[in-house]
């Protein structure tokens, strides 16, 4: 599967994945360490897109590589290693989302007035340009995401944060493209609804002419 849409840069792959897999299966720990190093950023980003919490994303990334290591012998190599790892990460991320249903939402809390507020987990502060362009709408979308169902959340975040095509999302989630489209359609409508209620307070967000 081609996932070239992703904006972030990846480390240049020197040794082919197939070689690293074979060496890892032969017990070469260094080879698996190379796989981890090669894909940990990408997997962390996918995990963060789904769970929206750095601590959980870190754990999901770790668990993804542990699970992949233990199942490496079963890896059929029909899909690429990157796709396989991404699929594991998505499943682990969804496990976290499911577990949260029964606990609490760590990425959101209520302030003194009872308003739901998101916790800004980004490490660095956004620069002025980004803040002006993407900050407001980004935060509004973050808030809107909280109101989506688990499936809608996964699909929407993969589309929004990873910029994956519907076909790629369908392959990763093992769903039909039509199903993904339907979920995404519902998710976008909820986001729109959320943004509409937020719009009057933010006139800089352009309305219809």
């Amino acid at each position: 599967m081609k996932m070239a849409n992703v904006q972030c840069t990846e480390p240049v792959a020197e040794t082919p994945d197939a070689d690293l897999i074979s060496r890892s299966l032969a017990g070469n720990e260094q080879a698996y360490a190379q796989i981890v190093e090669r894909y940990q950023r990408k997997i962390f980003r996918i995990a963060l897109a789904i769970v929206r919490n750095e601590m959980d994303a870190d754990l999901v990334t770790q668990d993804t590589f542990v699970q992949a290591y233990l199942s490496l012998g079963k890896f059929e190599r029909r899909a690429g290693l990157e796709t396989w790892l991404t699929r594991i990460a998505i499943n682990r991320g969804r496990d976290v989302l499911r577990a949260r249903k029964w606990t609490f939402l760590p990425w959101s809390s209520r302030d003194e007035d009872g308003e739901t507020v998101g916790i800004d987990l980004a490490d660095g502060r956004p620069d002025a340009e980004n803040e002006a362009l993407g900050g407001e709408i980004g935060r509004a979308i973050e808030r809107a995401i909280e109101h989506l169902s688990e499936q809608q959340k996964t699909i929407f975040t993969l589309r929004h944060f990873e910029d994956l095509s519907l076909e790629d999302i369908a392959r990763l989630l093992k769903l039909r493209p039509g199903t993904v489209r339907a979920h995404l359609f519902r998710a976008v409508h909820k986001v729109r609804k959320e943004l509409r209620s937020w719009l009057p307070e933010h006139p800089e967000f352009e309305g219809p002419i």
Partner: protein
């Protein structure tokens, strides 16, 4: 002519081929196209921000994550490694036990075979031997033995006979 807001254009952004009416309008309306491009920029800026926040992470973050992954694998690995020796050890133990039981069974059957022949001989020998010895001991007076012959007078003095009962004192 109906124009679209950025909120409306979200659908066109995420599902480009879902609403052909919006797509056609955006393609032909410079205002809406401009709004759509601004929306695109905002969303992409948000995504880039999310990416760059990950890229800005210090090398120690990734190193620590690698170490955590290795530790977790090492924690699981010994259990997996242990499984094979455990199985082989269990199999060896079963074989040993089965062998032991078989050997015991075999020796038991062979001893039963010999026991069916030998006991008669042994019994006859032992019974005859015991009866002979018993006969000897019963007939002989222990005080009259060669070992106690020299002490006979002392023994006689200390073990005087009670005339009323006829029993010998000093003996129980």
């Amino acid at each position: 002519m109906k124009h679209y807001s950025e909120v409306d254009l979200l659908e066109h952004y995420y599902l480009p081929s879902s609403d052909t009416a919006v797509s056609e309008h955006v393609a032909g309306c410079p205002d809406c196209l401009g709004r759509f491009k601004r929306l695109q920029l905002k969303l992409q800026a948000g995504r880039k921000e999310s990416c760059s926040s990950i890229e800005r992470k210090p090398a120690t973050f990734w190193k620590r994550q690698q170490i955590a992954i290795k530790r977790k694998i090492d924690a699981v690995q010994p259990q997996r490694r242990m499984d094979v020796p455990r199985l082989s050890a269990a199999a060896a133990l079963v074989v040993l036990l089965a062998g032991g039981v078989w050997m015991q069974e075999r020796s038991a059957t062979s001893s039963v075979k010999t026991a069916s022949v030998k006991p008669a001989v042994v019994r006859s020998v032992t019974t005859s031997a015991t009866s002979e010895t018993l006969g000897e001991t019963r007939s002989e007076d222990p005080w009259a033995s060669d070992e106690l012959k020299d002490f006979h007078s002392v023994v006689q003095w200390e073990s005087w006979e009670d005339p009323s009962t006829g029993s010998r004192k000093g003996t129980s």
